[in-house]
C-alpha cells in the first residue's frame, strides 16, 4: 500500500513535469495541478501499482522497509526467483480485488501461501549501514529532490519578487521602525467612529485577560474531564469504556479544529470583533488540548498508591485526591503554563478572524496602510509575548 503511494507520488510528479515542460497537448484546465489527460489517471494508478508489486517481489521495497519486514522463503533464506515470480502473479488475485487475500488471512496472505514465502522482520542493524549508500539511499535522495522541485512548481514560488518589490518592503520596515505611540494610552479618535474607544494599552490589557481567562477556564473544565478520559480511572466496565471513548473522541476532534477556526465560528455567533468570541475560541481549544495532555498524564501514573488507597477502603474520589493528584500535579502545572504561553500568542492575532483583542488595532491600521501605528502595536505585542514567555518559563522552572 505504502509502495503504491510512493510510486504513485513519483508517477504524479513525472506526469506533472511532463505536462509542464514537454506535453504540448492542450488541456482544458491546465492551471490545475491535477491536469492529466482523461486516460491518464487509470493508467497512472495501474502502472504505479504494477511498479510497486514488481518492486515488492523482486527485492525489498520501500514500504516493506518502512515496516521493517522482508520476504523470505518458508524454509528460510531469501526466496528463489521462481518463488518471487509466483508471488508476483498470485498477488494479482489476492491483493488486487481490494486486498481480499490479505484481509482474509492477515497472518500470511494468499500470495505468500501460494508462493511458499513468509514476511519476516528484517535482521537489525548489520546490513543496514551499507544499504543507505546503495539503492535506497539514492532512492530517498531522488524522492527528496522530486519533492522540492514539485513543491516549488505547484506553489508557484518566485524568489525574484522579493527583490523586484524590494522598495515596498523597505518602506514598510522603515515606517514600522519609527513607531507612532501617540495613541498608546489615549484612544485613537478613528475608533470612536467604530464605537471602540480603546487605546493600545487598553487593548493590551484586554488581550492579556483574554488569554488568562481562557487558560484558567480551560484548565478548570479540562481537569475533571481528564479523569473521564483516562483508561486506568474509568475501569473496564462497558460504561467506563463508553465514557472513555466519548471523552477521547471529544478531545481529539475539538483539538484538531484550530483555535482560529473556532474563532471564526464564535465570531459569527457572538458578533464580530468581540473579545468574547476570542475567549470562547481559546477556551474550547484549551479544554481539548489540555484534556488530552492531562488524561495521558493520568494514564501514566504509578498504580501502587492507587492500590494502597483502595486497599484502605478509599472511594473513587479519594483515590483521585490521594493517589492520583499528588502524582500528576507538577505535570498539570507545567502543561497549564505551556498552554498559557500559547494562548497569549494566539490572543494577539485572533482578531484577524473576529476574535477581538489587540489584533483588532493591528489589522485596522494595516488596512489603513498606517505602518507607523502598526509598528507601535507590533512592539507592544512583542513585549507582551516576551514578558509572558519569561514569566511562564520561570514558573515552570520553579515547579519541576
Amino acid at each position: 500500500m505504502l509502495d503504491w503511494m510512493i510510486w504513485g507520488y513519483v508517477a504524479y510528479g513525472v506526469m506533472y513535469l511532463l505536462n509542464k515542460y514537454w506535453w504540448t497537448v492542450p488541456l482544458e484546465r491546465f492551471y490545475s495541478t491535477l491536469s492529466l489527460p482523461s486516460w491518464g489517471w487509470p493508467l497512472t494508478i495501474l502502472g504505479t501499482l504494477e511498479m510497486a508489486v514488481l518492486c515488492r517481489n523482486l527485492g525489498r521495497s520501500l514500504g516493506l522497509r518502512a515496516f521493517g519486514l522482508e520476504v523470505w522463503g518458508a524454509e528460510g533464506g531469501p526466496p528463489r526467483v521462481g518463488q518471487r515470480l509466483i508471488r508476483l502473479l498470485a498477488w494479482h488475485f489476492s491483493g488486487l480485488p481490494f486486498g481480499v487475500g490479505v484481509l482474509v488471512s492477515p497472518q500470511r496472505a494468499w500470495h505468500d501461501l501460494v508462493a511458499g514465502t513468509v514476511l519476516q522482520p528484517s535482521p537489525p542493524q548489520a546490513a543496514r549501514r551499507r544499504a543507505w549508500l546503495s539503492q535506497w539511499g539514492l532512492m530517498a535522495l531522488l524522492l527528496l529532490g522530486l519533492t522540492i522541485w514539485l513543491g516549488w512548481l505547484i506553489v508557484h514560488i518566485d524568489i525574484g519578487v522579493l527583490f523586484r518589490r524590494g522598495e515596498e518592503g523597505l518602506r514598510i520596515w522603515r515606517e514600522m521602525l519609527r513607531p507612532d505611540f501617540r495613541y498608546f494610552a489615549v484612544p485613537d479618535p478613528v475608533f470612536e467612529l467604530r464605537n471602540l474607544p480603546y487605546s493600545i494599552l487598553d487593548m493590551a490589557v484586554v488581550t492579556l485577560f483574554m488569554a488568562l481567562l481562557a487558560t484558567v477556564l480551560g484548565a478548570l473544565v479540562a481537569f475533571p474531564l481528564s479523569f473521564l478520559g483516562a483508561r486506568n480511572i474509568m475501569g473496564f466496565s462497558p460504561v467506563g469504556w463508553g465514557v472513555y471513548f466519548l471523552m477521547r473522541g471529544f478531545f481529539n476532534v475539538f483539538r484538531s479544529i484550530d483555535t482560529m477556526l473556532w474563532a471564526v465560528i464564535f465570531a459569527v455567533w457572538v458578533l464580530w470583533g468581540r473579545p468574547l468570541a476570542g475567549v470562547l475560541a481559546l477556551t474550547v481549544h484549551t479544554v481539548a488540548a489540555l484534556g488530552k495532555l492531562y488524561s495521558e498524564q493520568v494514564e501514566g501514573i504509578d498504580p501502587g498508591p492507587v492500590e494502597a488507597v483502595v486497599a484502605a477502603g478509599g472511594s473513587r474520589l479519594e483515590v483521585i485526591r490521594y493517589a492520583v493528584l499528588p502524582q500528576i500535579a507538577p505535570a498539570y502545572w507545567a502543561f497549564t503554563m505551556y498552554r498559557w504561553d500559547i494562548n497569549v500568542r494566539m490572543s494577539t492575532v485572533i482578531a484577524l478572524v473576529g476574535g477581538g483583542g489587540i489584533g483588532d488595532l493591528l489589522f485596522y491600521y494595516k488596512n489603513e496602510g498606517d505602518w507607523a501605528k502598526v509598528g507601535a502595536v507590533v512592539m507592544v505585542i512583542v513585549a507582551i509575548v516576551w514578558a509572558m514567555d519569561y514569566i511562564s518559563g520561570r514558573l515552570r522552572e520553579r515547579i519541576t
Binding site: 501502587g304 498508591p305 486497599a311 484502605a312 474520589l317 479519594e318 485526591r321 490521594y322 499528588p326 500535579a329
Partner: protein
C-alpha cells in the same frame, strides 16, 4: 466446631489476556491469630492470592469468607466498608511519594471518614493523634512532616506499617513486605509485623521470598507452585525434599540472618 476466621474455597484466577491461570482451585483456612506465611517462586500466584482476599483483584471463581461473611459476594460499597478491617502493606511500599509521611499515614483512615471531609484534606483530631501514636510505634515520630520520598526504603515500609495500623485491622495482608529491603532492615520490618500479630492479635498473611524468614516468623506456612497449593503445615515440616518440590530441583536455600 467453630467456623475458621478466613476460609478460601476453590479460589481460581485466570487473567484474560493470554489466558494465564494464576490460581488453580485453591482451598485453605486460617485461624484467628495465625501468622501465615505464603512462599513460592516469583509468578507462583502469591500476590494474586493476597489481592483476591481484599478484592483488589476480582477472583474468577471460588469463594472467600472472613468471619463468616462471604467477601466474594459483597457489593463494591460493602467491600469498601469491609476493607477497613483488612490492612495491607506492599513490596514497593506504595506510598504517595510527594506527600508528607503524616498524609500517607492518614490515608489509612480514608475508609472511616466521609469522602466529603477527606477531599478537603481534613481528618478528625482523633485520627491525627492516632497517626502520631502509630508513627511513634514504628519509630518515625520526628519524620511526620517530611516528604515520603526522602525516607530510606526501610523507613518507607515502616510508614506503610503505620498506615496499615491506622485501619486498626483484624487481618493484615503483607505482599512481599521485605523483598525490596536489605537483610538487616528486613528483620526490623518483620519484627513490627510479629508485634502486631502477637500484641494486637492481628491475623497476618505474608508472602515471603526467603524460607529462612518464613521459618523464623511464621506460625504456619503454605507454599504455592503454579497457582496450586503444594504445602500446608508448620515451618519445621519443610525439609530438603519439600524444599526442592516447592522451588524446583536446581534451588539452593539461602539464609537471611
Amino acid at each position: 466446631m467453630a467456623e475458621p476466621y478466613l476460609v478460601v474455597e476453590n479460589l481460581t484466577k485466570v487473567y484474560e489476556r493470554g489466558q494465564v491461570v494464576a490460581l488453580k482451585d485453591l482451598s485453605f483456612t486460617v485461624e484467628k491469630g495465625e501468622f501465615l506465611v505464603v512462599i513460592g517462586l516469583s509468578g507462583s500466584g502469591k500476590s494474586t492470592l493476597l489481592r483476591c482476599i481484599n478484592r483488589l483483584i476480582e477472583p474468577t471463581a471460588g469463594r472467600i469468607f472472613l468471619s463468616g461473611v462471604e467477601l466474594t459476594k459483597l457489593s463494591p460499597r460493602a467491600m469498601r466498608h469491609m476493607r477497613r478491617k483488612i490492612g495491607m502493606i506492599f513490596q514497593q511500599f506504595n506510598l504517595i511519594k510527594r506527600a508528607t509521611v503524616m498524609t500517607n499515614v492518614l490515608t489509612g483512615r480514608l475508609g472511616y471518614n466521609p469522602t466529603l471531609l477527606t477531599l478537603l484534606g481534613r481528618f478528625p483530631k482523633r485520627d491525627r493523634e492516632l497517626a502520631l501514636k502509630n508513627l511513634e510505634r514504628v519509630g518515625l515520630s520526628e519524620k511526620a512532616y517530611v516528604r515520603a520520598d526522602e525516607l530510606s526504603g526501610g523507613q518507607q515500609q515502616r510508614v506503610g506499617i503505620a498506615r496499615a495500623l491506622m485501619q486498626e485491622p483484624e487481618l493484615l495482608l503483607a505482599d512481599e513486605p521485605v523483598s525490596a529491603l536489605d537483610p538487616a532492615t528486613s528483620h526490623s520490618v518483620m519484627q513490627y509485623l510479629e508485634q502486631m500479630n502477637k500484641e494486637d492479635g492481628v491475623t497476618v498473611l505474608a508472602s515471603l521470598h526467603f524460607l529462612s524468614l518464613a521459618r523464623r516468623y511464621g506460625t504456619r506456612i503454605i507454599a504455592l507452585k503454579d497457582g496450586q497449593l503444594v504445602f500446608d503445615g508448620p515451618p519445621e515440616a519443610i525439609d530438603e525434599v519439600k524444599f526442592k518440590e516447592i522451588y524446583g530441583e536446581e534451588a539452593e536455600e539461602v539464609e537471611v540472618r
